[in-house]
């Protein structure tokens, strides 16, 4: 295969997504005013996503054949996994936005932005240099800013968008400054340069300069993945934006953010892991505690889920710490598995909230009262999602947490596992509260709407099946899972000489 063919084939998923986006825009321009467009646009997005998913599988077999010295991209297993993650997430969002967004004008633009954001995650996952990494990250961010503010008439969406934008722009500015200092120390923007180049940030332990670089990078990415204490925007933004976009923030954007974090910390800053491991450990503990405790008094289910999503960020951060402390394989498996489980759990939960908002006009616990009487199937799916979030078998959330906590135990950070288990126990309260409200309380007079939405039903059904299948997959296919995890871990580690 020639160099050109390899490049084209490697970028095919991204090209497919962009091609889909352009088709959507052309359609928006031509038939955007006709009523049929609200069905055509999501359908085309789904077709694009399926094709892009297929394209991920037919990428070149040898990822190191990508041209360039050193290559700017590496389309290996890590890339494949995160692309599938992103594409699955986008799939969920298209299905939930099908109803949620149907009254909006210029829908094609929305789906085009969604596809472009997905392409951004793919670029993050494939990048091996800070330049494509940062640009891909900004592709994701900028599309997300626009998606949040998409409902222009809604004050809440406007407010959410300005909050997310200001913090995101600040975070990316700080991140940039960190990268610039990193570049000054290592003389190269290649992600793996710090490993190979004589570096000024510290050979095994960071010196003052290394600490500062690390701090800037932690602050920058901390905003994006919403680790405490950089989480303040999460509840407001999740609440303010329309729920399908919230869904994207919770599952798609999060996957992209974590791909970014892993790229930076597990590749470029791995030499000074003794510096950042304690920092992330503290942040993980804080994130778990604050996320779970702050969720307790909330009455809005969106906010509960927002805080729970913060808490889950804390769980995934354990993987970073345990990776640094030696349990590389289990940490990798845990993080990757949990991000996939996250899509099924959070996707279901936010979709159910969306349905309830459509039925009753609000998302507080009040509106969830007696949901089982009105809409038993939806309630059933919601229950499974919540149980899965709480980490109760036989649902995917259990193994997600199990792998993560187990990796902490393996690496010797038992305190992290203990705190995480305690906090999981706390989290059961607020999940159980929603379940209790749904099953055992009578619906209030005003909320008697029993309308169901078949499109959501298909989505919820698929997500729940996926949720359970993921659990049994982990149960019965453990060797394959471990093999895959070790493959990805090796891929990350192969650059360290």
């Amino acid at each position: 295969m020639s160099e050109f063919q390899i490049v084209i084939q490697s970028f095919l998923p991204v090209y497919t997504l962009l091609f889909g986006a352009v088709i959507l825009l052309i359609l928006d321009w031509t038939i955007g005013k006709k009523p049929v467009h609200k069905h055509i646009m999501p359908s085309i997005s789904i077709i694009t996503l399926i094709v892009a998913g297929y394209m991920v599988f037919i990428r070149p077999k040898d990822p190191s054949s990508f041209p360039g010295n050193p290559p700017l991209f590496y389309f290996g297993e890590f890339y494949a996994y995160f692309s599938l993650l992103a594409i699955t997430a986008a799939f969920v969002i298209v299905l939930s936005a099908w109803k949620d967004m149907e009254l909006e004008l210029s829908l094609g633009v929305f789906y085009a932005l969604l596809l472009i954001a997905t392409a951004g995650i793919l670029i993050i996952a494939g990048a091996m240099n800070f330049i494509p990494l940062y640009v891909g990250f900004e592709v994701l961010s900028i599309s997300t800013y626009a998606m949040i503010g998409f409902k222009k008439k809604s004050r809440a969406a406007a407010e959410a968008s300005i909050k997310y934008f200001l913090l995101g722009a600040l975070a990316s500015g700080i991140l940039l400054f960190g990268i610039s200092l990193f570049y000054g120390a290592t003389h190269s923007l290649q992600l793996t340069s710090a490993v190979n180049v004589l570096n000024v940030i510290g050979t095994t332990k960071p010196n003052a300069y290394g600490l500062f670089v690390m701090a800037l990078l932690v602050v920058g990415v901390g905003f994006k993945i919403a680790a405490v204490p950089f989480h303040v925007w999460v509840p407001d933004v999740y609440k303010g934006s329309s729920l399908s976009v919230t869904n994207f923030l919770a599952i798609g954007s999060k996957a992209g953010g974590f791909a970014f974090v892993f790229k930076i910390f597990l590749l470029s800053l791995i030499t000074i892991k003794s510096g950042w491991a304690p920092v992330w450990a503290v942040l993980a503990i804080l994130t778990m505690i604050v996320g779970n405790l702050a969720a307790l008094p909330q009455v809005s289910v969106t906010r509960i889920l927002a805080y729970s999503s913060i808490a889950h960020v804390g769980y995934i951060l354990i993987a970073l710490v345990s990776y640094a402390h030696g349990a590389t394989e289990m940490a990798t498996i845990g993080a990757l598995y949990h991000l996939m489980a996250n899509i099924f759990m959070k996707g279901t939960a936010f979709t159910v909230v969306l349905i309830v908002v459509y039925q009753t006009g609000g998302d507080t616990l009040e509106h969830f009262k007696g949901l089982s009487k009105r809409d038993p199937l939806t309630t059933f799916f919601m229950t499974i999602a919540l149980l899965s979030l709480a980490g109760i078998p036989p649902f995917a959330g259990f193994f997600g947490k199990f792998f993560l906590f187990y990796s902490a135990v393996l690496s010797g950070d038992t305190y992290l596992a203990i705190i995480a288990i305690m906090m999981s126990a706390v989290s059961v309260f607020y999940y159980a509260r929603i379940i209790y409200v749904m099953y055992f309380q009578e619906p209030s007079e005003a909320n008697t709407e029993t309308k169901t939405y078949p499109r959501f039903f298909i989505l919820l059904f698929a997500l729940t099946i996926g949720n359970i299948a993921l659990f049994f997959g982990a149960l019965f296919l453990t060797p394959q899972l471990v093999e895959f995890g070790s493959k990805v871990a090796q891929e990350l580690a192969q650059f360290i000489i």
Partner: protein
């Protein structure tokens, strides 16, 4: 030797910092944008001194000419707010002021700590840059090694354009 360039650089640097302070301390937002323009031009001139003329042109064309127009338009479209940086402001924000001063000194000390890393070879490169030719190297690098990143930049600008047009355009109801 070279005091002429150095003196010029110091002068431009001081002016840039003053202008940057102006953006934050001036009363009207419009003036802040005007100060930003001057800051950006100052930064562009430092690029010239660092041997990267091309980026000077780009910085003035894109930043000072393009982005700043966006700023001015949006300031005029979003109304003014008077803001005063005086003694009262300083009293209210004493912690923030101290933080930034501390940040400045820490950062300077840290960045100068890696000076030793550059002491030996850096000067030659700048000299080379001043005698031209590096712009060509730069464009060659841009279109060979970074060939596959440029389209991504196009995607980014495309999505920004889509999003901002959608957000600002006034649409009639269906």
């Amino acid at each position: 030797m070279g005091w002429f360039l150095e003196a010029n650089f110091i002068l431009i640097g001081i002016i840039t910092i003053l202008m940057a302070f102006g953006t934050l301390s001036t009363k009207k937002v419009m003036r802040a944008a005007a100060f930003l323009l001057l800051t950006l031009v100052g930064v562009a001139l430092t690029y010239l001194f660092l041997g990267f003329e091309f980026l000077m042109g780009i910085q003035i064309t894109v930043y000072a000419g393009g982005i700043l127009i966006l700023f001015l338009f949006s300031v005029l479209l979003t109304g003014h707010e008077e803001f005063k940086m005086d003694l009262e402001f300083a009293k209210e924000n004493i912690v923030q002021i101290l933080i930034s001063i501390l940040l400045f000194f820490t950062l300077t000390a840290l960045m100068l700590s890696i000076y030793g890393n550059y002491q030996l070879t850096g000067n030659e490169l700048v000299l080379q840059a001043q005698t031209k030719g590096l712009t060509q190297d730069f464009s060659v690098a841009l279109f060979s090694h970074f060939n596959y990143v440029l389209p991504i930049l196009g995607v980014l600008l495309f999505s920004a354009m889509l999003g901002s047009v959608k957000l600002v355009l006034r649409e009639e109801e269906l």
